[in-house]
Amino acid sequence: MKLTVEETEQVYEEPITTQAPMQLNGADVFIETLKKHQVEVIFGYPGGAVLPIYDALYKNPIKHILARHEQGAIHAAEGYARVSGKVGVVIATSGPGATNLVTGIADAMMDSIPLVVFTGQVATTVIGTDAFQEADIIGITQPITKHNYQVKDVADFPRIINEAFHIASTGRPGPVVVDIPKNMATGLFVTPSEDEQEVNLPGYQPTTTPNFLQIQKAAQAISNAKQPLILAGAGVLFARASDELATFAEKYQIPITNTLLGLGGIEGNHPLFLGMAGMHGTYTANMAIQTCDLLINVGARFDDRLTGNLNLFAPNAKVVHIDIDPAEIGKNVPTEIPIVADAKEALEALIALDTPNGNTAAWLESLNISMEQYPFHYQASVERGLLPQQVLELVHQYTNGDAVVTTDVGQHQMWTAQYYKFNHPHNWVTSGGLGTMGFGFPAAIGAQLAKPNAKVVAIVGDAGFQMTLQELSLLQELRIPVKVIILNNQALGMVRQWQETFHGERFSQSLIPVQPDFVKLAEAYDIKGYKIETFEDAKVQLKEALESDEPVLIDCRVVQKESVYPMVVPGTGLHEMIGVKPE
């Protein structure tokens, strides 16, 4: 039954005491439906338009993390989603609350993170009148969501929420926005039939099972290849297929490289692993792409930071591309063998075949030699001071490669990707596609909530940290034991590096000589702060800080004039990397 606004308002003017048994409103059903989806934590921030929802939450609680900015809430939800494999849930009020989420929604869209984002909205009776705190969030988020909804009938709450969770978490995951006009939350709920509550999406049927003929073609190509290579992206992680990835690579003796977001999909020390590929990847991984005769892309999207100049990319390779999103196949790189499927199912199908291996021994041998010849390198000396790479090696050492590591965006992010070798999948949280500064710290909070017993380390830059540092309040209040490590080069380091290399050392607006005292800042939030200036100090203090069970903040004063190498200069091919060897 459809309730008109007048009817619902009328009902609400009656004193509640006259109603027995108590009638549910939209907000009550909203909370109930979240509980049905086993939502264990909500990241949110209240305001006028969502007051009825927060009232329902008060009566029927779900753990709620009150971030100090909506952007903090949504990045925390992203970190939570990545580490837990569950859907991240966010609530914000209409207007400014909703628009503060936009960066996080776009970030989740680019990196395929499953989120369901609920925004308040002004009542349907005034939508379109520029009412107080009205923003057209459906219009605003249309290009940055997998799908979005506005609730227009109270009875639709269960179905819309069911569909939102279904869409966010299946196929290629992504963010779904559900906009809730205030009068829908307060409106009287009349239970619809079971049918009307169920997911009904005839236009959305993701393919998860691979086409067997395509699998056979891929297997044949593997048999024929002398120099095959696997490029594994985040699709492997979303499909929970890292075991299958290792089995597949071992069975056919194929080396593996990762995209930035795919890190952790294979153990960092696995003998077949060549390290990350792309702009700041290993020379060996990039040369492997350029010289392979078969490139098997599992769940990566051939992003430009990975491919370098597309015209020069993998010139000798036949391309197999396994992706759950058909639109990614052939988008950037012509593909001979497309396989639309869930990565796990596709890898299982490939493993199950008894196609003979190609002989890859000589190929593996040459790659091993290359790995030894071209390791990441840096030049340390007492005079130069503390180097970010040294800090990261210590972090790896003191956490044994077992930590959950999040990063912000910039040089420190690339160094972390280079130096932190993950023993396990789902411990790596970074903003890849959108490259969102301010992501790393709140994401670590979400990650810690997903894995309360894990060591969670946020590696952040001095600039990016300042974009969302208000969330220190959460560490203070909830004693969330995140270890915040600032690689403080007193600069927008990555900008500085590009200006050094491509803009004649004209450091326009990239150096920050004056900074807050980060230790005092930590203290203001009742968090222990460390300031580390030398490698010798780092060895002692980082160890102590990382061993702590409390939240800590570590301000590492690192050398400013240090650049991330090797590097694929934009416009060039992967084989043209610069800074491959020490000068």
């Binding site: 459906i138 290009p143 959305y204 999103d325 058909p326």
Partner: protein
């Protein structure tokens, strides 16, 4: 190359926005678009005329459209046997002196007069876009005061002469 693409969608508010927004985001140029519901009022059909660079871009376009949650079916019907129709309204300067001359010109186009004023006549003409182009060309010398075209809508014919190859996504 010019392609005619039909998109069958669930008739939800915002779906037109999503589809046109998607084309904009992916840098496709829409030449014309018509929308209306089908025999089922809950399902609408859009017909686009789009200019695409090459096969690869076309395949991307079809796949991106198909990916939308409210999109049920995407078809590139350019190379099929199709019926394509467009409607145009043309207001022409037509003083009584030339009126019969104009009428004889438009006769073969089977255009109809839907409004008449002292010195102007409004014609309605339907047919393929080429026919409408030809009509406009002929009538132009008399002075067109106002012109509006609906953009094409199209159907695949019942009988297909040859089975035209389709892109992988449409199989």
């Amino acid at each position: 190359m010019k392609r005619i693409i039909t998109v069958t969608v669930i008739n939800q508010s915002g779906v037109l926005n999503r589809v046109t927004g998607l084309l904009m985001k992916r840098q496709f140029n829409i030449e014309s678009i018509t929308v209306g519901h089908t025999e089922n009022p809950q399902i609408s059909k859009m017909t686009f005329v789009v200019n695409v660079e090459d096969e690869r871009k076309l395949e991307q376009l079809l796949k991106q459209l198909q990916k939308q949650i409210d999109v049920l079916k995407v078809n590139d019907i350019t190379e099929k046997q199709i019926v394509v129709r467009e409607l145009a309204l043309v207001k022409v300067v037509s003083p009584p002196a030339v009126r019969s001359e104009i009428n004889s010109i438009i006769e073969p186009f089977r255009a109809s007069i839907i409004d008449t004023g002292k010195n102007v006549v409004t014609f309605q003409v339907t047919g393929s876009p080429e026919k409408i182009d030809a009509f406009i060309d002929l009538i132009k010398p008399y002075g067109i005061k106002e012109l509006t075209r609906t953009g094409v809508t199209a159907f695949v014919r019942e009988t297909q002469k040859v089975n035209t190859p389709q892109l992988s996504i449409l199989k």
